[in-house]
Amino acid sequence: MTSQVATPSAGRRPAPEIARVPFARLVKVELRKSYDTRAGFWLLTTIGVISALAVVILLFVGKTQDLTYDNFTAATGIPQGILLPVLGILLVTSEWTQRTGLVTFTLEPNRWRIAAAKVVAAVALGLIAVVLAYAVAALANLAGMALRDGSGSWTFGIDGFTDITILQLLGILGGLAFGMVLLNSAAAIVLSFAVPTVLAIVFAWNKIASAAPWLDPSTAQGPLQTHDMTGEDWVHLLVNSVIWVGLPLALGIWRLLRSEVKSA
């Protein structure tokens, strides 16, 4: 069977009309994978429902002067800030914990393209979540005026939109990066919550508190939530995001490109 004699079809090449899988298709597939499992479906549903719930609670228990667009948006930001990183993590780690990577990386052996498709899908999901948040907050603000004679202030401005959008995108991309570095759902979820908590405690120590805006994500992202970013705050945020999102993402992609995809 190992005869080196060429058979008529031995020189057959793959059909030349077969083109590379278009990148947009890879992104579409990654997006579909985020909701076509039971776990994914419920995670997305939970993000939507809890965002709405947070707004509804504020609508009925908040003081009338607090019923503003700004506050309603902030209310959606809390559950999204917790759940979007988990969504980002699962986009990657399910390929390992559910072993679907065997199929994903054989259908597209160029792992750069899969990594890039996952980043684009994560950004898209993050944008969908914040747009949903803005919409729910707007409805609540109208309802607040109608039902409870709320303030109904729309003071928010373009800054408000960009701040919240950046905040949540950093969250989901940070989750994705942690997922790529650890390739394990449980470890990535635990660490992505534990690391900011530990850092917040460490930087509460007076002697190093001045370094907190540079190194501690909660401190650096604080002004985004309150919409009072100064030029210095942007520099802090940039450096901090390079450390906690950029570096893990680079390390994660490096690991994704090199690691062996196994079934067991």
């Binding site: 031995a10 579909r32 052996p109 062996e260 079934s263």
Partner: protein, 298 residues
């Protein structure tokens, strides 16, 4: 056609796959046979770019796997039928594959029908599938892109005898249309039924390869006659080496043609004459004895 040349994988000091070379020709079903842990899966993972090799290379239709455009359209791969998201339905698994490969949804339904997964099963989540159903789904996934080459790791694992027979028909038909099939197994009986070429691996190295026929011949012949003593005499006078087994048959170190000729010359009436006197299984155990986890009892 698949060409594997000197593929090697080392994990630290341990060599999992050691300079493995073989060729799988179009139109044949080649069985990749070896005990558990012999390096079959590692070799297959290197062939499809999931595991970076420490040395050597492999090509499919003359092209390294990672350079194939939309590889699912050229090579159907099934490495582990259970490696599917438990929370996805069978149909959804195929639909995702079809999306990546750019195939219409009809193709998904066609494949479900081909592997015999009914509507109710297609709607069920893979977590609730039996191993046999997962294998069928995996085969459907491998065939989705209408490939020319199939690489299947333990595809018959979990199938019942009827399922194995079905797979034989499917793979044989695929090979007869000019397809190339490589499938692995640690069970000799599966391979004996399905494959026509064999590559035997033990402890990371190829220990034997060739057609199933030639391997069976190498394993000798088994012969039985009405008159046992007359057969004994006929084999003796033909100068053939033989032993007698517990059931009273003779195991002869010669082809069935040689044994038949000897019997005719001695005027002996045979009641049984077949290949593989010592059995492909015995040969397999012998070939891989040095690496087997269990001592081979002789």
């Amino acid at each position: 056609m698949i060409v594997v040349e000197q593929l090697t994988k080392r994990y630290g000091a341990y060599t999992a796959v050691d300079h493995v070379s073989f060729t799988v020709e179009p139109g044949s079903v080649t069985g990749f046979l070896g005990p558990n842990g012999a390096g079959k899966s590692t070799t297959m993972r290197m062939m499809v770019g999931l595991t970076p090799p420490s040395g050597g290379a492999s090509t499919i239709l003359g092209v390294p796997y990672h350079e194939l455009n939309n590889p699912g359209r050229t090579v159907g791969v099934l490495l582990d039928a259970s490696a599917q998201h438990a929370g996805r339905t069978g149909r959804e698994v195929l639909r995702l594959g079809a999306m990546v490969m750019g195939l219409p949804d009809d193709r998904v339904e066609e494949m479900l029908t081909l592997v015999g997964l009914n509507e109710d099963e297609a709607k069920r989540r893979v977590g609730n599938y039996s191993l046999g159903m997962r294998q069928r789904l995996g085969i459907a996934h491998a065939l989705l892109g209408d490939p020319e080459v199939l690489i299947l790791d333990e595809p018959a694992n979990g199938l019942d005898p009827a399922g194995i027979r079905w797979m034989r028909g499917l793979l044989r038909g695929f090979a007869e249309r000019g397809g190339t099939v490589l499938l692995s197994s640690h069970l000799i009986h599966e391979i004996e039924v399905i494959a026509d070429e064999l590559v035997v691996i033990g402890s990371g190295s190829i220990v034997a390869q060739g057609s199933k026929e030639s391997m069976l011949t190498a394993a000798g012949s088994l012969v039985r006659a009405l008159d046992r003593d007359a057969l004994h005499g006929a084999l003796d006078s033909a100068g053939l080496d033989f032993t007698s087994d517990a059931s009273g048959a003779f195991v002869v170190q010669a082809s069935t043609a040689q044994v038949g000729t000897a019997a005719l010359a001695g005027g002996v009436v045979l009641t049984e004459l077949r290949n593989g006197g010592s059995g492909l299984e015995d040969m397999f155990l012998e070939l891989t004895a040095a690496d087997a986890r269990e001592e081979v009892l002789s």
